[in-house]
Each structure stands twice: as structure tokens, then as C-alpha cells.
């Protein structure tokens, strides 16, 4: 426990958390680039390099900041809060090591509402610009978010009931101790439910199309339309971090093998490499789903999310019956 650890233990925990943060800040954009690349290759194109999102960030950093004259302080704080909230989630979740700083506070409920904090502030910023597009994006994003959140929470409940705790480090160590859990029916159901939520929360096809600028289908892009320059860069970084974090979280909850249980540099390195491999596999899988499906009509999206919610409920029920 961190509470009983010495200052050096706390230092190691903070170091581990910062390491996770660096890994996801760099890895998130790379995963996004990878997904674009896989899609391009599958369609017979060469595609931009995998590090393109990082290059985009550098380009945006040099541009001018322009605000709509109707905006308030919400518009200025949102990019910062989006990045900060997801950064806290990354720092306290056991991704590379099982003992990050504040690990005892790393409750699934905390993670869900930290993600919601980012979504809420983005939606407010969309309305803050006083334009039609911003409002449209906010309205749609909140509608999708309001339906994705219950599926997320109930899917996580299914995992928590098994461990009798919603504390992430405990769930991860229990999963490590029981390798046979991978084939549990409730875990499989929860996995599918969580995957649906992750696709919705990261704005991928079939819920949202990250590369569209067509007003009929835009969700996330409409909401951030008024951002420019370094602030747009921060919003894009936040989105990339959210994608990297959610993929890593899925890997973590279902296949946590290889995560470092101490601060030995070799173990940490192994943890990073395995995390990279696992998230790459998940990213590839999500891209394959993207390639093989068309984007759903906006008003069909709730059906998909309701499906996710039902699967999550089934996961809980299966877990209770099997007990």
C-alpha cells in the first residue's frame, strides 16, 4: 500500500505515473496514425506516415489562436480541462505498473466520471461558440455520451462484482491471479459491451467518423469546429489521449499480463512494450471493424449503444448466476 510506503515509494509511484502519462501522450497519437495507416493500406493507398498526428500537433502549435467573439472563459478552459482530466485518469490507472500514484483512489467510478468531465466541458465549449455547428455537435455528443455511459458503468460493474471491489489495481491483480478468467462468459460479454462503448467514446465508425466534415454526420468535429491553432492541438491531443487510454484500459481489465508489479526498470520496459503490443492489436481490431462497416445513421446509434447496455446487464446477470 502506498499509505505505508516511504517517501521513496511515493516518489517511485509518481515516477511510474509520469511514465504512463508520457507513454500515452506519445502512444495515443501514434495509435491514431496507425489506424489511418491500416485503413489506407486496406483500401490500397499508401497513406500518411504513422507519426502524422504528432506532426499535425507540431504544425498546430505554430499557428495563431483565434476565438469567436461570443466565447467566454469556458472556451479557453475546455482544451486544458479535457487534457488535464484524461491525464489524471491515465496517471492513476495501473497501465504500465500495478502501483501508480493515487492507485487506491483509482476507482472505476472515478475513471468514468473523469472521462465524463472531459465530454461535458467539450459540449459546453461547443455551445459557447454561439454557432449552429457547435450546438449540433454538443447535442449529438451528449446524446451519445448519455447512452454510452450506462453501458460503460454496468460493464465495469460486472468486473467489479467478481472482485468485490471497483478499485482498478485490485481488479487488475485479481485478473492476474486468475488467468482462467479470460474465458468467463461474463467477462466475454463485458468485453464486447466495453468495446462498443470505447468505439462510441472515441468517436470511431460506426458511431462517428473522425475524418468527415459533412454536417449531416459530424459529431465530434462539429463540436470543436471553432478551435484553432495550439488550442485545437490540445483538443486533438486530448482526443488521442482518450483513445490511447481507453484502449489501454480495455487491455488492462481483460488481459493485464506483463504489467510491472514493481519499479524495476526492466519490468517497466516490458510493461510498456506489452502495453504497446496489446493496444496495437486492439487498434487493429477496431480499424477492421471500421473498414468493414458503414457509419450508422445518427438515430440508429442509440440502438447500438442500447445493445451494449443489454450485453453489460447480461454480463452482470451471468456473473450472478455462475456464482
Amino acid at each position: 500500500m502506498i499509505a505505508s510506503a516511504s517517501t521513496s515509494g511515493l516518489g517511485a509511484a509518481i515516477g511510474a505515473s509520469l511514465l504512463q502519462l508520457v507513454v500515452v501522450v506519445l502512444g495515443g497519437p501514434l495509435l491514431m496514425g496507425l489506424m489511418v495507416k491500416i485503413r489506407a493500406r486496406a483500401e490500397g493507398r499508401k497513406g500518411p506516415p504513422i507519426r502524422q498526428p504528432l506532426l499535425d500537433l507540431r504544425k498546430l502549435a505554430g499557428k495563431e489562436r483565434i476565438h469567436s467573439e461570443h466565447t467566454s472563459v469556458v472556451f479557453v478552459i475546455t482544451p486544458l480541462l479535457l487534457v488535464a482530466s484524461i491525464a489524471v485518469a491515465i496517471a492513476i490507472t495501473p497501465l504500465v505498473t500495478t502501483s501508480p500514484v493515487l492507485g487506491r483512489s483509482a476507482d472505476l467510478f472515478v475513471i468514468v466520471f473523469l472521462i465524463l468531465t472531459g465530454s461535458v466541458s467539450l459540449a459546453l465549449a461547443g455551445l459557447d461558440s454561439g454557432t449552429a455547428f457547435g450546438g449540433m455537435g454538443s447535442s449529438r455528443a451528449m446524446a451519445i455520451g448519455a447512452l454510452a455511459e450506462p453501458a460503460l458503468l454496468v460493464a465495469m460493474l460486472a468486473l467489479s462484482i467478481q472482485v468485490r471491489s471497483s478499485n482498478l489495481p485490485e481488479i487488475v491483480s485479481a485478473t492476474l491471479a486468475h488467468p482462467d478468467w479470460i474465458a468467463n462468459p461474463e467477462r466475454l460479454l463485458a468485453f464486447v459491451a466495453l468495446l462498443i462503448v470505447v468505439i462510441a467514446e472515441t468517436g470511431r465508425i460506426p458511431v462517428d467518423n473522425p475524418s468527415t466534415h459533412l454536417e449531416l454526420t459530424m459529431v465530434h468535429e462539429a463540436m470543436i469546429l471553432e478551435y484553432s491553432g495550439p488550442e485545437l492541438g490540445l483538443v486533438m491531443l486530448g482526443q488521442a489521449m482518450r483513445l490511447g487510454f481507453l484502449f489501454a484500459l480495455v487491455a488492462d481489465l481483460f488481459f493485464p499480463w506483463g504489467i510491472a508489479s514493481n519499479s524495476n526498470p526492466a519490468r517497466l520496459l516490458l510493461g510498456i512494450v506489452l502495453l504497446g503490443t496489446k493496444t496495437t492489436i486492439i487498434a487493429t481490431g477496431v480499424t477492421l471493424i471500421e473498414i468493414s462497416t458503414a457509419k450508422l445513421r445518427l438515430f440508429r446509434v442509440p440502438e447500438l449503444l442500447t445493445g451494449g447496455f443489454v450485453l453489460a446487464v447480461l454480463a452482470v446477470v451471468t456473473g450472478l448466476v455462475a456464482r
Binding site: 487506491r104 483512489s105 472515478v110 459540449a123 459546453l124 459557447d128 448519455a146 468485490r164 492541438g233
Partner: protein, 672 residues
């Protein structure tokens, strides 16, 4: 003694009522507010002392009420409700001073407000059937009159008052019957004696009594399907009164369920609490869905009250069910979560209603579709509304997050129960908690984003002014607990858990440890909101630093403010903005079966050709679907019988004399 301090406070509040009625117009509002606040502060101190030392104090007098006298008992459970009410009372009294400056208040209204406040702090200490019912009915009567106060300027208030009167009297009758059955069996109307004798009653009688009082208290709490009066009354009342109704009066419905169910009847059987849990799930979901669809700011807040009361009832129901299946620690945890959420709800909903009142005060409307851009004209109100919105959306590190986390933990650990019906009910509870979480966030993004951000949609909104300092300070007083209870819940909760024990009726294990963070005892689960806040702040500062560093190296340093891109046209009118109605449209479509809105499109063609439209009028109305499908037929039925009964009464004196004669003959025949 503590109870004497409480009584002096009560007397001062009553003096406030007198001051509000008798003082000249110039000083009566501030006089009543001053006396009322000091009185509230004294009851607050007395109640806080009771919560801290856990002592119970009694007061009896044979005066005031003839035949029965008055029985008062100040225990930690009632004290929690007094603390909540007293803080709200001070804040609303303060707020009322500025609020009354523009609107001339009548003597009755200024006098009635402290009287209502006095009833609200009196109900939780009433310790006999008569004392309780007198306080309860006085509370209903005063709030009814306060609701009617503005009926001349707003006829809708009459309709709301009528609904309120009908529902509250129906509820009070149910409670009275239930309590009288208990008192008749015990041979005494004192709660203490009733509690001793209640186990001797048969289960059937106890269940009937429980269902009766549940109906009565649930109608006061605004639980579905007895909620129909609440969205009307809370929306139409003056905002300080709305804040008191939503933050304090509905709580007393919860108080009654726990006091009678767990206290007087001793916990009862499992299915009672499953019924309570089911009502909670229904209320939470229905309230949240209606709140999302509503574009009237105060109606939205009223429906969100139904949603939050539902969450509290889920906790209360889970606690009762877990106590009956022998999980005492888990029961204490769920009850603690419920009471904590109730406390938090009073803080943020009180603040929200007061802020909504400020908006109405400044712009003359509470329709979100006519607002917008208020953050520039009313920065303090917007900021406080923002804090309360984030709290109610359960975002960390505000108080709504702490109590919803605790409720989630209570339900999660409750799955340890072996009883499968309870497990299913708990799952429904978690589902409701999860669904309302997302829907509440959507509703309050709408309220805050459409109402306060963007461009003003009407001239009234663009010329709004910030409200008086006394109104702002009233809101600040309620915003402070939203932040403090969220950041250091571990300091407050051990105190609230004293109320939990008394509420559940017995000694229960302590479910949380005291400390800076919030840590369950005997179970795995912990959050440290202070450290989370620190982490969030340092991440914010880090991100800000990076942005500044980057901006310094870029072409131009400062952000430039220009007109937003209007697709090539140099005009961007407020008409292009999303409205509250359009914002809610996707979710309204999803929940169309629950909301059952009525559409109406009216197309007028140009005279020359019917292929060209001249004007399209589209109306969308979302009313209360439960009211329409359950209450309207009931009202029609009652009216039909009323019409039949009217035939008997045609106004002819001869006929009435004949009725009297026939009745006399019938009675004589029967007696003979």
C-alpha cells in the same frame, strides 16, 4: 439543554412570521429575513450539537395543543434534516431580501415564508401522532398559500396550487390513517410507545400501515407515480419557495418513510423495501428523461428533483432490503449514501433554484429558448449555476460525485447478498444510477450551455443585469457545501453516520472511516477527492504552461477575437444557434415512448401555388405522460360522478328538507 436552544430558534422564526405580517411595508421583508435567519442559525447549532454528541433530548408540554399537548424529540436522525433545512432557510431568507426588491410582496406572503420554515424544522422533531400531523398539515397549508401568492400575475400558479392541494391532502389522509391504526393499537399517540407495541401487530396490519404511509410520504417526496404536482408547484412558486420545497420539503417525505418504516415499524419485511427501491428506480429514470426534454428551466430543475429523490429512495430501499437479509454493514452503507445524497441534493438544487430565480428576475423569463449569453451579463450567477450544475452532474471533485460514488459502492457491495430478488433489484438500481448519470449531465449541459453561454436569443437576455448582492450571497452560501462536501466528505460522513444508526433503528457497524479521503470500513473502496483535485489542478497548470510556452514561440502570442465563420456570409444571428428544444431532440427521439410528445405542424401555402410554402408553424409539446394517461382519466371519472351527484343537489330548499326527513326516518328505522 440542546432542545431549549432549538425551541428559542423556533420561537425566533415564528417572531419572523409576525414581523413579516405586522411591520410596515418598508421593513417587513428584511425584518422577517433577519429574525428567520437568526432563528434558523440557532436551530442549526442545536441540531449540529445533537449530531456531534449523538444525544437525544426531549421536550413536552401540555399547552399549545389542547387534549394532547406537544411532544418533541431531537435525535441525530431528525437533526440531520434540521441542519439541511436550516442552512437552506438562511440562504433563501437572505436571497429573499433582494428578490423582493423588485416584486412587491404582500403581508401574507412575507409572513407565511418564516411560518413555512418553522414547520419544516418542526416536522423532524415531532414525536407524537398529533404533533406530527399538525406540523405536517401546517407545512402543507403554508406552502400552499405561498404557492398561491403570485396567482394574480401568473394564473398558472392557481392550477399548480390545485394539483398540490389535492395530492398533498390525499397523502396526508393516507399517513393519518396509517398512524392512527398504530396509535389505536398502542393505546398511546406517542411515537416511543408505538414503537414498543408495533411488533405485536400482525404482519398484514403492519404491511397495510406501511403501504399507507409510503403512499403519503412518497407523494410528498414527489416519487413516481405520485409526482404530478411537483413539476408544476416547484416551477410556479417564487424561487426562494421553490428552493425550500425542492431542497427541504421533499426530504421530509424520505424522513417519514424511514422514521415510520425503520423506526416505528422496526424494519418490516423484505418486500416493503423492494417496493421502495422499485419506486426509486422509476422516479430516477422518469425524472431524468423528463429533465432532459424540458426547456423550461425551473421545470427541468423540478424533474431533476424527482430524479434525485429516486436515487435517495434506491439507497433507502437497498438499505432496508440488506438489513432484512442480515447484512447490517451494507445496510448502514446504503443508508449513509442515501442520506448523504439527500444532503448534497439540498445544497445544489437549492443553489440551482435560486440561480434560476435570479435569471427570471433579470430577464423575466425562464424559458431556455429565450435566454443565452448570460455569462457576460450575469457572471456571478452563471458561475454559481455552473458549480451547482457540475455538482448535480456528479463530476469530481464536487459533492454529487462523492455521494453517487458512495451509492454505487453501497449497491456494488450489496451484491454479496444471496437473495436473488434483492440482487436483481440492486442491478436495476445500478442501471438507474448509470442512466441518470449520463442523462443528468446532458440536461445540465443544456441548461448551462443554452441558458448562459453563446449569444443572447432575445433582447431581454441581452440586456439582463446582475442581481443584488444579497441574492448572490444566498447562492454562495449553498454553493460552498457543494464544493466542501465534495472535497472532504470523509470529515462530514462519520457525523452523518450517527443519523444513519438512529434512522435504521439500532446500532449498526460504522460503514466509513473518518479521514481526509472517503474510505469504506470492512470493504474495499476508497476515493481521495482532495488528492484528485490536486492532481487535476497540477495537470491543468501543466497544460496551461505548455500552451503559454507554445504560444510564445508561435507567430503571434495573444488569442485574437473575431466573428465566427458564418459559412461565407457576414452575419451570424442568434436564430442560427441551437435552442434547448433542438439540443434535446436526439434524446427526445430515443425516449419517445416514455415522453410521448405531441407534434403539430401547420403549413400555409402562398396564394399563387400550393407547391410553395408561405409559413410553417411547428409545435412540439412534451407534457407529463403519466399525468395524461393515469390522472386525466381518473379526473374525468371523478368529474362524471360529481356531475351525477350534482343532480341530487338542485338548490331547492324543499328537496334538502326532504333529504333530511328521509335520512331521519331511515336512521330511526335502522335503530328500531
Amino acid at each position: 439543554m440542546t432542545v431549549h436552544l432549538y425551541l428559542y430558534g423556533l420561537a425566533l422564526i415564528l417572531a419572523g412570521a409576525l414581523a413579516g405580517t405586522l411591520l410596515p411595508a418598508r421593513s417587513r421583508v428584511s425584518g422577517a429575513a433577519l429574525l428567520g435567519s437568526i432563528g434558523c442559525a440557532m436551530t442549526l447549532i442545536a441540531a449540529t450539537r445533537t449530531l456531534l454528541d449523538g444525544q437525544t433530548s426531549v421536550y413536552q408540554t401540555s399547552t399549545v395543543l389542547p387534549f394532547t399537548g406537544v411532544h418533541l424529540l431531537l435525535d441525530p436522525f431528525g437533526a440531520l434534516f434540521i441542519v439541511v433545512t436550516a442552512v437552506l432557510g438562511i440562504a433563501t431568507s437572505l436571497y429573499g431580501v433582494g428578490y423582493a426588491r423588485k416584486i412587491q410582496k404582500s403581508r401574507i406572503e412575507t409572513g407565511m415564508f418564516p411560518l413555512f420554515l418553522a414547520c419544516l424544522v418542526l416536522v423532524p422533531v415531532a414525536a407524537s401522532v398529533v404533533t406530527f400531523m399538525v406540523a405536517w398539515e401546517l407545512m402543507a397549508a403554508t406552502s400552499f398559500l405561498l404557492l398561491l401568492a403570485e396567482h394574480r400575475s401568473r394564473p398558472e400558479a392557481r392550477d399548480a396550487a390545485q394539483w398540490y392541494a389535492a395530492m398533498t391532502q390525499f397523502g396526508a389522509a393516507a399517513i393519518l390513517i396509517g398512524l392512527v391504526v398504530l396509535a389505536a393499537h398502542a393505546g398511546s399517540q406517542s411515537f416511543a410507545v408505538i414503537r414498543l407495541h408495533a411488533p405485536g401487530l400482525s404482519l398484514g396490519v403492519r404491511s397495510t400501515v406501511f403501504l399507507l404511509v409510503l403512499i403519503g410520504f412518497a407523494s410528498k417526496a414527489g416519487a413516481v407515480p405520485l409526482h404530478v404536482w411537483l413539476p408544476r408547484a416547484h416551477a410556479e412558486a417564487a424561487s426562494p419557495v421553490s428552493a425550500l420545497m425542492s431542497g427541504a420539503m421533499v426530504n421530509l417525505g424520505i424522513y417519514g418513510i424511514i422514521r415510520v418504516g425503520n423506526g416505528l415499524l422496526g424494519g418490516g419485511v423484505l418486500w416493503w423495501w423492494l417496493v421502495v427501491l422499485a419506486i426509486g428506480v422509476a422516479s430516477a429514470l422518469y425524472g431524468a428523461v423528463q429533465a432532459v426534454a424540458s426547456s423550461d428551466l425551473k421545470r427541468l430543475l423540478a424533474f431533476s428533483t424527482i430524479d434525485n429523490i429516486g436515487l435517495v429512495l434506491i439507497g433507502v430501499g437497498a438499505a432496508g432490503a440488506l438489513a432484512d437479509t442480515g447484512h447490517r454493514l451494507l445496510a448502514a452503507l446504503a443508508m449513509l449514501a442515501a442520506l448523504f445524497h439527500l444532503t448534497n441534493h439540498a445544497a445544489f438544487k437549492g443553489c440551482l433554484f435560486l440561480a434560476a430565480g435570479s435569471v427570471q428576475h433579470a430577464t423575466g423569463t425562464r424559458d431556455l429558448d429565450h435566454l443565452g449569453g448570460l455569462v457576460r451579463r450575469m457572471p456571478a450567477t452563471a458561475f454559481l449555476f455552473g458549480i451547482a450544475s457540475l455538482s448535480i452532474s456528479a463530476l469530481p471533485p464536487f459533492n454529487g460525485f462523492a455521494s453517487e460514488w458512495l451509492l454505487f459502492q453501497g449497491l456494488l457491495h450489496g451484491f454479496a447478498t444471496k437473495n436473488s430478488i434483492t440482487a436483481v433489484a440492486l442491478l436495476a438500481g445500478v442501471g438507474a444510477l448509470a442512466l441518470t448519470g449520463g442523462l443528468t449531465a446532458a440536461a445540465f449541459v443544456k441548461a448551462l450551455g443554452i441558458g448562459f453561454l453563446g449569444q443572447p436569443r432575445t433582447p431581454e437576455a441581452s440586456t439582463a443585469h446582475e442581481v443584488a448582492p444579497s441574492m448572490i450571497s444566498g447562492m454562495v452560501l449553498l454553493a460552498i457545501p457543494c464544493v466542501v462536501l465534495g472535497i472532504i466528505p470523509g470529515v462530514v460522513l462519520p457525523v452523518i453516520s450517527r443519523a444513519t444508526d438512529v434512522g435504521l433503528g439500532g446500532t449498526f457497524p460504522r460503514s466509513v472511516q473518518s479521514g481526509l479521503g472517503l474510505r469504506l470500513s470492512g470493504l474495499s473502496g476508497m476515493i481521495e477527492p482532495v488528492l484528485l483535485l490536486l492532481a487535476l489542478l497540477s495537470a491543468l497548470i501543466l497544460a496551461w504552461g505548455v500552451l503559454q510556452l507554445v504560444a510564445r514561440h508561435s507567430a503571434r502570442g495573444q488569442a485574437r477575437s473575431v466573428e465566427a465563420w458564418g459559412s461565407g456570409r457576414a452575419l451570424l444571428t442568434p436564430k442560427m444557434e441551437y435552442t434547448a428544444t433542438s439540443f434535446a431532440e436526439p434524446l427526445q427521439r430515443v425516449f419517445v415512448d416514455v415522453l410521448r410528445p405531441s407534434h403539430d405542424a401547420e403549413v400555409t401555402h402562398v396564394a399563387e401555388s400550393r407547391y410553395f410554402e408561405h409559413e410553417i408553424n411547428y409545435r412540439l409539446q412534451i407534457d407529463d405522460a403519466i399525468e395524461r394517461s393515469w390522472y386525466r382519466p381518473l379526473i374525468r371519472y371523478v368529474m362524471a360522478w360529481g356531475n351525477i351527484a350534482r343532480r341530487v343537489q338542485n338548490g331547492s330548499t324543499h328537496r334538502y328538507l326532504a333529504f333530511g326527513f328521509i335520512a331521519l326516518v331511515v336512521i330511526l328505522v335502522v335503530l328500531a
